[in-house]
Structures are given as C-alpha cells and as structure tokens.
Symmetry: C3
Subunit: 402 residues, 3 copies
C-alpha cells in the first residue's frame, strides 16, 4: 500500500507514469507514515480500564503492556527480551515491578530495568544488565496518553492537547472503538469537505437539520491547526440532463438555497460561541497533527483522535465536551447518554467507519473539495520533523511483517 519514497534528486529525463494527484509522492513523509507519526502523545484507553492486571495495547504498530502501580500508569514494550513471550501474560509479584509468566523475569516499571530473575536466585548475573523499553505515560481528563517516540524527552502533553482543554473546567463524554482502515484514511475522511453532504444525508444526527449539497471552502492555517472556512453553502442544484439534487426534506428546517460570505478566518479570536465564552479558538472544523479533529457546535465541542494501531487499522476516539461544572453538568450527561452517544458517536460515525474501511488509495483521482485533504497532508509534511523519522517508521513497518 505504501509507495516508494520520492528520490532526493530524480533525473529530469525520467518519465512520469501517473497523472499528478494520483499518488502520494508529493507527501513522502505522509506516504511513509502507515504506522503513524513518531514524537506525539496518543490517547490509548480510558484511565478506569488500567488496573494492576497487565493490559495489552497496540500503538503505531508497537505492542505495549500497560499496568497501574501505586496510582501511576506505566507502559513497557510487550515482549520479554528473554524468549519473546508477551509481558502482558505476566503479573505483579512485587510492588513497582512486572514479572514475566514464563521464567519470572521481573522488570522495574519506572526504569524498565531487569531487577530480579525469580528462577535464577538473588545474585543472578543478568540482573541490571537488561533494560526493557518504556514509554512516557500521562493521565489527563480520564484518558491514558502514551508518548510514542524514539527515546527522546517528550514535550509536555498540555502543549499537544487542544488549547481550550488547559484549564479543564469542562465535562466530557466519549467513545473509543477499534476500527479497520488506515489511520490516514480516517483523518482524511474526518477533515474531508465533500462526503458529509452525501454520505451523511441519511444520518439520524441530522434528523431535523438539512445537509448542504456542496460548499465553496477555504482552508486556512492558524498555528498548528488548519481550519475549514465556508465561503458559500448550497442547498439545491439543477444538474443538467439529470435533474434537481437537494437534501431538503419536508419535515426538516429549510435553509435558503445558497448562502455566501458566511465568515472568514479574520474572525478568529472573536468570541463566536457565547455559551463557551472563550476567545482563543475559532469556531470552524479544524485538524492538527498527529490526527485530531475539532468541530465547534453552538453548545458543544466535538473531537476525534484517530490513533494508528496495526497496519490497516486504527482506534477511533470520539470526545464531546461542554463548559460546565458542578451540578450544571447533569444536563450534559443526559444529553450525551440520551442522544449524542447513539446518534453522533454511533450511527453518524459508523457511516464514516464504513467508508474508511472501504477506501483504497492511492491511486486516487482528487476533485475540488479535496483541497481539505491535500492541506492536511501538507500540514503533516511541514510539521513532522524529518524524512529520517518517516524512513524509520517505514523500516519498522517492514519488521512488523516479519
């Protein structure tokens, strides 16, 4: 599925074999990133699911064992270096450690150091000489976040969370689901300008609101986010030789046939959402690296993380938040469990899941609304560090096959 990388300097005489836009050569790092981008924090599971019993997770093609000890969550590579048995089959024999089920190799959770070998006595010569790979872990907002890097010191998790999460004065509901489909297809589907108007026209989530038929959209960058800004919205068209196409239904609110100049990125910074009452974020559909979507609704903010797991698979993390505290959070939970969870994180999102699972590109033939896709790919290309990182990821993926 992954295409060969563009050579550093390709001879000019070499014939082009594909039309532009049909492959991913313009985005070599993105093309190579089948197993995700290194050097980021990823949401892996709910905090409440990690206990003293080791738990297996796959993140960016790496098998991890998660375990909670003394209130903290630890993540280690899930392969005992002795004979390759998963550490997640083991158990905790001493506080602060995890012991392999096979020969009792016991690793310190904090450092990964082999601190005891129960079947080789207290003076086992191998103790201290083997260090198991560990990954930085943070818990925030009830979610376990793991930093997937290559040994470097991670940046603070807060730098990577959406800016509006920092003070934490909100209530949150969400759903995590393992899904088929390359994580990049999921990102592209999420930020895609085009499909919602056709694929989701039958979603229950839009039971009373009419979907547009097509838009003119501008993609504008602001810091680490790119935003989809609507310039025109159309609700009814005449297709010559075919007939009228509209998403109007008699029982739905009927917007005008077209709306122009809805807003522009110059409005950024203005308090567009009185309910939320915050200046610092815009009010558009936005995406940032390593694959996070933000959609601002009048009352809520919706997020999606698409977390790479195995090749061709990802984990969908759908989150809905509202700026409420204390007793006033009750209506949020009622609304979330009474509807959002089933209609939005459920049926609506499963339409996406269906298409992401069926997508098979490149080759591909892009059209005008795919400007959102290419802007996203460009963002990844500019944001991720070096080609080397991508090559490393590619090499790692080949190991995976063996």
């Amino acid at each position: 599925m992954v295409q060969a990388q563009q050579p550093q300097a390709s001879p000019p005489s070499q014939p082009k074999r594909r039309r532009p836009g049909q492959d991913w050569k313009a985005w070599p790092q993105y093309d190579a990133a089948e197993l995700g981008l290194r050097g980021y924090w990823y949401p892996v599971t709910w905090s409440s699911k990690v206990t003293g019993t080791p738990q297996r997770q796959t993140l960016c093609g790496e098998k991890l064992v998660l375990i909670r000890d003394g209130g903290e969550v630890y993540a280690l590579a899930d392969r005992c270096p002795h004979r390759g048995v998963p550490l997640s089959l083991g158990r905790q024999e001493f506080p602060g450690t995890l012991t392999c089920a096979y020969h009792g190799w016991t690793f310190d959770l904090e450092s990964g150091k082999l601190c005891a070998v129960l079947t080789d006595g207290p003076k086992s010569p191998i103790c201290g000489k083997v260090v198991q790979k560990t990954h930085p872990v943070e818990e925030r907002h009830g979610i376990v976040w793991v930093y997937l890097g290559d040994g470097e010191e991670p940046h603070p998790l807060d730098e990577q969370l959406p800016e509006e999460w920092r003070d934490g004065s909100f209530v949150l509901g969400g759903s995590m689901q393992d899904r088929r489909g390359d994580w990049r297809y999921a990102c592209e589907n999420g930020f895609d300008e085009g499909h919602a108007k056709y694929l989701h026209r039958t979603s229950l989530w839009r039971l009373f609101r009419t979907m547009p038929t097509w838009n003119i959209t501008s993609i504008e960058r602001q810091g680490r986010w790119i935003h989809r800004v609507q310039k025109e919205v159309h609700f009814r068209d005449e297709h010559s030789g075919l007939g009228v196409w509209t998403n109007y239904r008699w029982w739905k609110k009927k917007p005008p046939e077209r709306v122009f100049n809805i807003g522009n990125v110059g409005d950024l910074g203005k308090p567009v959402h009185p309910v939320i009452g915050r200046q610092e974020f815009p009010g558009y559909t936005s995406i940032s690296v390593p694959g996070v979507l933000r959609v601002v609704y009048p009352d809520f903010i919706h997020y999606e993380w698409w977390v790479p797991t195995e090749p061709g698979h990802h984990r969908y993390v759908g989150i809905m938040i509202q700026y409420r505290e204390g007793l006033s959070t009750l209506p949020f939970y009622l609304k979330y469990f009474g509807g959002i969870r089933w209609f939005f994180h459920g049926q609506f999102s499963q339409q996406d899941e269906w298409m992401v699972g069926e997508t098979d590109a490149p080759p591909e033939r892009l059209y005008r609304p795919d400007a959102s896709l290419t802007a996203w790919r460009k963002l990844v290309e500019e944001t991720t560090t070096t080609h080397e990182a991508a090559r490393a990821a590619k090499a790692r993926r080949q190991d995976y096959d063996v």
Copy 2:
C-alpha cells in the same frame, strides 16, 4: 502455482530438470491464464438476479458492478476512481446513472463518463474528465453474459454460444455455483476421459446404468470444438496379480464386456439424435474455448461453463436443455426439478467439485487417457490470440496479489 513461461529461444545446452509432461511449458498461454482468457463472453449470473440495486461480481479477477436500468443490464469496474470505494455500495440517484456512496460521484451507465458530482455543484470542473471502465453485456436465454476484453469491439455473443442455441426453440434449466479450484482444473476435469469411470461409479445419476471401466478414445477437432470419440469401451478387466475390476452391479443393466468401433467423427453431421432431430452437431462430449463443455444425451443436451473468478476459484454454470416448446416443456421441468437438478447438477457434479478442489498440478504425470487434457490445452494455445495477452493476464494477476 503458475510456472514461468518458456523462453522464446532456449539455449540447447540448458539441462532439462523435469521429465516431459510434468509441467505446463508446452502450453505457455494456458499456463499463464490463471485468471482466464481475455476476449470472450462469460455467463455471470441469472437475468432475474440483476435489478436496480447494484450487485457485485468477480470475473477473471476483475471486480464488476452490475445494475439494471431501463430494462438493460450494465457492467462497470467496481472501484470509484476517486478514493477506491466499491461502486456496488452506491445506489441509483438519477435514471441511467450510478452514484458512489461516499461523495456522490455519478457515472453514466452507458458510457462510464462521470456526469455529475453531487457534492461539488452542477459546474464541478471534474465532470466529463473521468471515464469509468465499462464492459459489454448481453442477456440471452435468461442469463447475463459479460464480455471480458481490453477495450476492443466484442464479437457477437451468438458466434460464441453453441451453434444449436441460435434459434432458441428449447427449454432450459440450470445451476450456478461458486466453487474452489482453478478454472483450468475444472475444464480438464470436465473433458477428462479417465475419471468418470472410477470417481463417478458411485453416483446416483448412474444408479441403473453401468459405468465403463476404460475406453480407447480419439480426440477429433471440428471447427472450434474438439470431440471425444470412443473407439472401444470396456466394462470388465482382469488385472494380473490383483483380480477382476468391473462396474457391473446385479441391479444395473449389464452391457457386454467390451464394444469396438462405436462411431467415429465421420458420422458428424448425420442426425444422430432423433429426439433433437438436428444435423449440425455430433453427439459426443465436446469442449470449446473459453471453457464450455457439451454432452449430448439421447433426450437432453448438457453444458458446463467454468467461469474464472478469483485465483483458485471459479463459477460452475451447469445447464440442461431440451428441444421442446409450449405445453410440452412441462415434462422437462418435472424431470429437471424432480431429478436432474439433484442427481446430476447436484451429487454427480459435486464429486467433480471435490476433485477439482483437491487437484494441485503441475507437477503432474499424465497417462494415456489424458490425451483429452492435452488436446484441450492445445486448443486453447491455438485459439487464444497472442502471448502478449497471456502475459498481460499474468501481470494483472500479480496486481491482484498486491
């Protein structure tokens, strides 16, 4: 499974590593044709099964979407060029078109041209610039036939149907089944002189008729058909050191131990089947390209098509016809649904299915009755156009693996 093709001119000093007959090098096009022969009409499904709801079919390794519109059946490549989603997941939004489920790309069924993109407005710049591959389709005798070529104008379907089908004054019953096994094994099994006498000796279809034990057979070509002409038929043998072998059973009709000079291809053209009363076909078991068997019984004619689908799989199309019209077709249906369907297109044919699924050649070690197999391979080799076609098919098969 597919062997390398014989080089155009092999140096005489090169050592032979297999005994003659053990591989398929003598039939390089046949050897390469794992996904079938290009440039032929194939029966794909029953007419009654194709409606306005798109239907997925695989033919010669190509995924197709079939749909009926205005009474006609259309076949298009089942992959939206935009992002690779199957068109068969879509639906018909306007007459004469098919719309992809994901972004509303709408293709004209006749020409394959992208005629509207519902999510990009009536003036979408990509309209008319993308053409989806289409395949010629015909309906005849209640069956949908698709021409699998490489863009050339197809020959008329009637040229390829058995000659005796042309006036259509017959009644027809049949069964289509997806089966495992390379389509070539199925062809070879169908025209095989040898196996029937042993494998099928226990079939209910032959409950009252004794199978021969072995024959002397001549394979004779007449136009595009080759015929199996029996010269001798044997019903009882003494195998030295082992004992007597016969298919005689006390309750079955007991033919003489051996019969000589039963007929020869010189009889072709004589009206051998009074019930059918036709001159133009012989009365033997015959096969023609791209894989059609004809067996003439006193009262019926039986046909089998083995249609390549995916590597290692084919579709069995068993058809029984009788030259009857009007009210006199009733006994045919009684006989077909009262017996033929269960005993012949059922248990008898499933013995073949079993062996075709287990066959694994080359390497192989041919014996005297396999003259029928090699004649069939030779027919394919002489009939199919060029090595290039076979090479193309082979290349296509490699794409399939990716």
Copy 3:
C-alpha cells in the same frame, strides 16, 4: 523466523550486529531445522488408530497417508503423482494396494509401485513406470513409528528408543496432542532448567510438593543423552529491594531452604530407583535427538516426544511407563487415568503448551539456566549429519510455502 546460515568462512572485518547469544548462528543446522531432523524415527499416532481406511498425517512438513493392510502399517507420500490429489481420499480396492479416488491409480503399499490403473485397462502403459515414495514404518508398544529419511536404509528403531524400553516389560499410558509452536521451542521448554520453578508453581500436579525457586545445574553428556544434574536446589530467597520469594505454601511439604551436592553424573550406573531396579539409566531429566525427554520419578518414567508437523506446529507425545506386568498393571492404569492423565499430561503440560505457543525467538537474551538450552542445541549440532541435510530441509520448507 529462520535465520540465514552462518557463512563457511566469514571475513573477520564484518561487523557484528547482534550481541552474542541473541541469534542462532552458533547452531546453523539447528537454525535451519524448522521442519525437523531427517534420518530419525518419529512416533506418529497410536497403532489402534490406523485401520484399512487411509489416514492423513503430517510429519516434518511431509504429508503422509497411513493405512493398515494384512496387519502391517504402510506410509506413502500423500500426493498422487498424476494430478496432485491426496491419496488419503482414496480407498483399498485390492489387498496390498491403495487406489486414488480420482482416476483409480493403484499403488502397491510395499514398494510404492503403480501396479494398476483402473481407468486405463489391464495393459496400461504407465503401470510399473511410476513409483510413489514410501517410508519405513514400525509398530512398537502400541505406537506407529515412521522413519523420515531421504531414501537411505533406516537404523533399527530399537537403537533409537530409550534403552530401558528394549525388553518391554512395562505398562504404558500416554496422550498425543497437536500443538502450536515450533518443535524446537517445545524441546527447549521441555529440557529448560528455568521455567518450571515459576510457570508451574501453580500446577495441580505439584499440589502437595513445593517447587524449588532456582537451582545450580550441570549438564552432562552420556552417549546420546544429555542429563540435567542438580548441584544446588534453593527453596527461599531474599531479593534485595523487593522481598522474599519462595514457593512454600502452608499445606505443602516444606523442604529445607537449600540443598547442596545432591548427586552427580558419577552416580550413573548405580541402581538409583529401587522400584524400577535397573542399572542402565541415571535418574535425571535427560534429552536426546531428535527431541525426546526422559524424566525419572521414583515410581514412573515420563517421556515426551515433540514431533515436527507443519511450520510453527508440532505434535506432543507424552508417555508415562512403569515396570509392572500382569495383574500388577492394574494400579498403574488406575493411577494414570485417575490422575496423571489430567494433572500431568493435562494441566501441567498445558502450561508448557501455552508458553511454547507464545515463544518467539530469536532474537533472545539467554540467562544462566539456559545452559540447558544451549547444551541441547549443541547436541543437535554434533549429532545431525551434515549441513547439507539441514540445507535440504530448509529448501523443502521453501517449497512448502509455494
């Protein structure tokens, strides 16, 4: 999984990419022997299971058909040379032969010679010109043993059976199970000094006997066997910074914390087991090629054969014997079926099955008790004939993939 073989003479300048002990380059034949060692007898099934109905078995990657005729068991390659159909789908039409289900090719069981072709008459020209590969078979102690070689005359089965089996005055119970995991992982697990003390600490088989925590062990060779001789046994340790580790339980017999100088291989030959009353075997856990374990208990002797079947799979053959005859065998059967079968050949052994199925090495990181593993690998390396045999096995494995 299989690593490249060590080059005959590697240039000294070549950089080492793995730390010593992390791959299997030191044991090139062992490394190549994914499909087992050629030139040995293997237990394949129980005698009582082989009847006149052909039976399929896979041994060292080769598919075999077993059949009993005139009291004798025969083993032939399970692929008809004609068209590749398994002979095990056929049946016996004449005594001393097996007939293929497809075309009635009939093979002499003793010689493998094609002695009749039922669908080509008694004078079929191919008769006598095709010889099917046969394998030497012996039955001993109720087990069918097949010699897997390359056509050479096999050594006598008795030379390969444990020495104490020769007079046969014992009673035997056992269990054969198809298991996942490379046969070498199973051998290494079986002779492994380390894992029992941790993995099996929860086994019901040791319900009343305390497992040690670790041992000092010496591996000593005697003829074709290597023995694990305990020098020290420890039952309780203090791991600094962690705490006490012991397998003591209040309801189990409590051995002393450590025992020194338990025995040494100089004791070999002395009658260590009064119940068995025999001089010729030692009393230790021992292993020999091609993968047989012997564990001597005060009252019983336990054996395990790990028989290579397909890549990544093996057959576990667990046998328990006792030197009793006549009426005195009754208590053995009571004990075997009342306990040993469920606790030892059952739950205890399934703990091993679990780990063998999860093992994934190399790479690996060996520790002190793995001296037993490396001694076993060295034994294989010294015992098996030539690199050529291993290379042949490797080549055969590649055929298997095709």
